[in-house]
């Protein structure tokens, strides 16, 4: 988030990595697995946006779980802090070390094997360092779908996706990352290996430990392997671009789309005119799918694993009938169904290029929040009012995974205002947005997590009882506070 100040640094106790410790690390992971050169460390200690510059005594890159276990045990015995890291593509700094970090970064990047694929059982066993896109491709080669899909998929790693419970554009249908998992292997804070790598859809034998490690951002243990669920590959996909009356129309329309599509709504993305125009301005080759002067659009995609039958009705027939009904009801003002792969790609490109376009456009503020799906229209209206009251010339660029209740509530600074000036308003606007979200029973971080950047906001907005439970769990499972210390929770 440009313009956001880092929270005050928490105390991160770590014993120093002595040369004796370095020797022992090298004995575990080999020369290939140890990076100590300052220049070579840079990509691991800096976040990809370049806004966080951390430090680490060494980058340690184990090749197998036993090495992860041995490294963690060594750190545990010596009180050395560990920052677990996958693709280091997170938006909140969860995988990037703090500037005063004296311990190691433990990168899972060398553990990148698909260990097993079971198309009949719809499951795949993988190592934590597999690139997300590689897993999508592997599933596709077996006529299956691994549905996790997000902007960083070409470089993020599945271990990080699971540790942060990643979201993306297919959550509406398939759920968050945690819903795509059958089993996990995790290295605990003391170096022990928890083998929960079971390919079971049902297992009621005590506490569900896997859900505790997912979303914990590496503060409770290190995910080393996972059994992932697969789905049938989509065969009949229909993508449409709709000019809609307002956000309320989007909610009502989506509510009816589930039944009309045979529960085959894949994505439903709310996009403002402002976002669309910004992409058209900055991203070469994008085209406006619909000449309309309305303020709100929906990118609606239905997909089925059943190929379109000769003479039968497919997704596009059902979508056509549905859109006719919605036009009739006054929710949809105009609409176009993609007739070619290129048209569909163009629609998706607009949606996916908003972040890139906004970086070109200039400084801005963005909030990844969620409320109950049916309260989105109320949130957008009240949110605009609250933010514009603070900075009347700020320009709203809202966008959202509306079916998940998740709005990327974004603003570009007033024309001509530089980052420094905008930053002066940032704290007040952030507070206003998060106060509103909280008063509506919402979440101040729908899918991006807490990491470093929202440390203080979590502390401010979550109840004392809730923070107490989290701290109790953290202290119980990581008594020496060596697992990604200073992230997610303030313990003090």
């Amino acid at each position: 988030m440009p313009g956001a100040a880092l929270p005050t640094a928490p105390s991160i106790p770590s014993a120093p990595v002595t040369s004796a410790v370095l020797d022992r690390l090298r004995a575990i992971v080999g020369d290939k697995g140890l990076i100590v050169d300052e220049q070579d460390k840079l990509p691991f200690v800096t976040d990809w946006r370049g806004t966080l510059a951390g430090q680490a005594a060494a980058i340690v890159r184990p090749a197998i779980t036993a090495e992860v276990s041995a490294v963690v045990k060594l750190c545990y015995d010596n009180g050395i802090a560990i920052v677990p890291q996958g693709g280091n593509t997170g938006l909140m700094g969860g995988a990037t070390p703090w500037p005063m970090h004296r311990g190691i970064v433990l990168s899972l990047g060398r553990m990148n094997q698909v260990l097993n694929i079971d198309p009949v059982g719809y499951a795949m066993t993988v190592e934590a360092g597999c690139i997300l896109e590689t897993l999508q491709d592997t599933a596709a080669r077996h006529d299956r779908l691994f549905p996790l899909s997000l902007g960083a998929q070409g470089s993020c790693m599945i271990g990080g996706n699971l540790s942060t419970n990643a979201g993306g554009v297919q959550v509406l249908r398939y759920g968050n990352a945690r819903n795509l998992v059958l089993g996990l292997e995790v290295v605990l804070a003391n170096g022990d290996i928890w083998d929960g790598l079971r390919a079971l859809k049902k297992d009621n034998t005590g506490y569900d430990l896997k859900h505790l490690f997912m979303g914990a951002e590496g503060t409770l243990g290190i995910i080393t392997k996972a059994v992932l669920k697969l789905w049938p590959a989509p065969k009949d996909v229909c993508t449409a671009w709709l000019a809609i009356r307002d956000p309320k129309a989007a909610i009502d329309l989506l509510s009816e789309a589930h039944a009309a599509s045979d529960d085959n709504v894949g994505s439903c993305e709310l996009i403002s005119r402002a976002c669309t125009d910004m992409v058209l301005r900055h991203i070469p080759g994008t085209q406006d799918p619909l000449k309309a002067e309305t303020e709100w659009y929906l990118l609606l995609e239905w997909s089925s694993a059943r190929p379109r039958q000769d003479g039968g009705t497919g997704m596009s027939d059902r979508m056509e009938q549905f859109l006719a009904d919605q036009l009739e009801a006054g929710r949809v003002l105009d609409a176009v169904i993609a007739q070619t792969e290129a048209q569909s790609r163009n629609m998706w490109r607009i949606r996916e290029s908003v972040a890139e376009a906004s970086r070109t456009e200039g400084p801005g503020l963005s909030y990844d929040v969620s409320v109950a799906v049916s309260r989105i229209p109320e949130f957008i209206a009240s949110g605009f009012e609250a933010v514009l009251a603070i900075l009347p010339a700020i320009r709203p660029y809202p966008l959202g995974h509306i079916g998940d209740g998740n709005v990327h509530f974004s603003f570009m600074g007033p024309k001509g205002m530089d980052l420094g000036t905008l930053s002066q308003y940032s704290a007040a606007i952030t507070r206003a947005v998060n106060d509103l979200v909280t008063s509506m029973g919402g979440s101040i971080s729908a899918e991006h997590g807490i990491g470093i950047e929202k440390l203080d906001e979590l502390q401010h907005y979550r109840s004392r009882t809730e923070l107490d439970i989290m701290r109790t769990i953290k202290r119980a499972l990581d008594p020496k506070n060596i697992m990604n210390p200073g992230k997610v929770l303030r313990l003090g």
Copy 2:
């Protein structure tokens, strides 16, 4: 499980419920909320099968969360053990007190209000004491589906369903109970109330606490309210009864059914000829859907929220085409699609009456286990072999939610053998089945939980590391061990 001996009782420390404590309980919940008469206590201290007879000093029935909180705080301060209880319909004794329990039973039965229903947002907020069937009916009145569906639905309560992460016949499509939840309110061991009652599909703000309380069987806290997810009500349902070649054919068929049905497979239940015949023998009014002499059958149901369109293809057309393909492939030997509601009800009645019929048939043994879906055929074959090696005349009655990898691996004793004699074989057979399940990476309790009855089996089959994590969490969140002590885990 008839014939199974109870585990050795763990030590369950509890201060006595003195008359002074009783007075304070009465002051919190009123006369209506307190049961001390021995006769009136019976339904709360005995399990519904009549196999567990426990004790409690009092049954406490709060009417609101604040009363639950006050009762728990009082117990916490005085070191009094609490058995939380919903409908007391569990199969493992999780909700029934141990015979030496000296504390209270805390029954949620008076907290039975539906607090809010949001059909557009597909969510419903309810109190823990709501009867499951009431919630199904409430959803249906709003043209929505709450998919949790199981034998005890007329008397089990949602709080118990969530605490045990209940399964049932719709898990294949909608997931276990934990997948049907957006938010929870929980009273913790010290009486504090955790308000996690958020209606959010996405919320990445720290550890996911709700998944910790679900499946914990009341040993970490008491679920008092929940926000449940809803789905569109089914409008086009097709039920079929298939004679199939063998369990392998069932797996392969199901693997293809997902795509062929547009991902609309609702249920896929494997039923043996032995189970079918037993039901036909004992349950009046049931009819054999198919005259066939094969050993294995599938009850396959596809359902869509989209009403069948005039001139369009509906579920039954797709099912017909699919069954023709499967006959061609040799997996299906014969099949019938229900043409009337009565025919469909008859098929379901056979499936749902197996438990009742087996009680009439005589003494038996049953194991609720799961393995990876694709390994079910191997499990069934090896399991038969292992059990028949111990008691050659035992009669297998297998049955299963095959799409979940969950087999109810059941046997009736040899003809003429009484319960006492069968019980002598029980320990060896249980060990053989659970050894096999474990060697195949499966679960010794797929959906019924641990409670009292599987306490020793969990201890035996789960790794020391896994048990250690569970105990660490239990001790951290319930340091005085007052929440359902002696269930799920042995702490000693």
